[in-house]
Point group: C2
Chain length 320, copies 2
């Protein structure tokens, strides 16, 4: 929700010489995206997003993210296309940061997604899974169960100060998740962060997916579980079963879930809720108040975590 | 440097029904502008800036600001043009705030303006003064000497904690400024905040002026003094006489300064430096650290203030 690194006109002009997209006509910092500095860039040839990757992104992961976007776009997934430099590279350096230019995507993200839009998201998520199946690069999920443990080790001491009783709740979650986490579900490339602000619509039509900077390899059904958390709760944190039914039906219209995947959904959704609760809790406790990084209240995900703890069968998510 | 108020898709669609600019295709919060919430809006018909006016702007001033932009644009000053609603009004309401749509201006603001660009700014400032001469609405400068006194009353107690000795320095400034401030220089509509981030360029060509939300009536030469402070110091706070000479020469190529205006410049520049030092000092001392409002270090303007105190003749600003 900020521009961490500003860029001056000489730096930008020099950077653009490496590209074939003409001269800059305007650039404005965008107040979206929580990890990187993003500018909406207009040149003689069109509109683009210029991203400077800040230190929370591991530079060695950038080729994976950008090549994945290129791969998915070629397979028909509407997502930003990294613009190649004259030397065919996708990544340059600007203001001391790794930087890339990607194409601008029309559409807007839904602050209040509808049931129909949840169905579209489920369908597109399955298309993404299919399109990524032959992507040749690899990246493990840094925020899988082991990674959650690390976040928890850095937050546990003060967790009860945020939500009284949270330590006992989360310890019980870890006991179950570390014992029962599935070992052999179908998997491959997942988006891993397909929240409403990463999905653009024009009316009810999904117009594109953005922000692949958490993409990795993991169970496909885990990505469905992330979306259940991200799309199927109301602002008061109540679960909307109609949205979940639409999302899972949309997904299954393209890629049916196996019986094992369906049975695993409650545990995966609980794990996914724990993952987002833990990153928020960790940021909440460790980022100073004056910092530019937006801190989000972990309470939302404490509520979602509690919901999924009570779910035992996939019917709760609209799967029959 | 933030979006204070977000807008959801239903609110925006309903708001746009009042306009004849088609349907929204995208909107993104812009990390620029320190007082209001700004979105870059793209519709079927083009690009626009959507502004929600936050509480630091007095609603009763909005017609003045927006009509002034309309007036100046008709007179040939390149500035954003407020878009009329179907009911011919320029201001509506969105997310509980007064809101307006203005046209998008190509160009970018210079982080490192050149001498030539300072000349362009001076020239355009004079054109603005001429174009505003027959604007029929009125607005006093809320940040004239009386207003500085109010800011100082709210900051003095803790001013020495920011810069040791500042209280004595500023009290001496007030004594001089309140005694010697000119009473009868030529005046009319001034921009009053023509900082580099409010002036767009395409190369060395000035492509437009934005952000008229401090515009008011005051001495024209005071606006020149504001620009001397805003454009003619280097990042290390040293004064760049070549930039000042270019700025004042550019101004005088369109509107020559009278002898009285020239003689008043050192005092006006000192007053203008005090004005920006005081707003920054006040914000520095009163805005909580976690707030979204960007706080700028008052030290920059303490240095500029000290420079102008030592200036006795307009030659220092390149006027011979």
């Amino acid at each position: 929700m900020a521009v961490y690194t500003d860029v001056n006109e000489e730096q930008l002009a020099r950077f653009l010489e490496e590209y074939k997209i003409g001269h800059v006509r305007s650039y404005k910092g965008i107040a979206e995206g929580s990890e990187n500095s993003n500018f909406l860039l207009r040149t003689d040839t069109g509109s683009y997003i210029l991203t400077l990757y800040e230190k929370r992104v591991d530079q060695s992961d950038l080729p994976f993210f950008l090549c994945l976007m290129q791969h998915l776009a070629r397979k028909g997934i509407t997502c930003p296309l990294p613009v190649e430099r004259r030397d065919r590279q996708l990544i340059g350096e600007l203001a001391g940061r790794p930087a890339a230019i990607i194409t601008f995507l029309e559409g807007m993200w839904m602050r209040h997604p509808t049931v129909a839009q949840c169905g579209e998201v489920g369908r597109e998520l399955a298309e993404l899974h299919l399109a990524g199946a032959d992507f040749p690069m690899h990246r493990a999920n840094a925020l899988a169960v082991d990674g959650w443990r690390t976040l928890w080790d850095g937050s546990r001491d003060r967790a009860d100060s945020v939500v009284p009783g949270l330590v006992a709740e989360v310890e019980a979650d870890f006991a179950v998740l570390e014992r029962d986490w599935p070992q052999d579900l179908p998997g491959g490339i997942i988006h891993a962060d397909l929240f409403p602000d990463n999905v653009f619509f024009l009316g009810d039509r999904l117009s594109g997916l953005i922000d692949f900077y958490f993409a990795c390899e993991d169970f496909y059904a885990y990505d469905v579980a992330v979306c259940l958390n991200a799309w199927c709760f109301e602002p008061d944190f109540s679960f909307n079963a109609a949205k979940a039914a639409a999302l899972t039906a949309g997904y299954q219209s393209v890629r049916p879930l196996s019986a094992a995947e369906q049975q695993a959904l409650p545990l995966l959704a609980r794990g996914s809720a724990l993952r987002f609760m833990l990153t928020r809790l960790y940021d909440w406790l460790t980022i100073p108040d004056g910092a530019l990084v937006q801190k989000r209240d972990p309470l939302e995900y404490v509520a979602k975590l509690r919901f999924h703890r009570g779910v035992t069968t996939p019917e709760a998510y609209g799967i029959s």
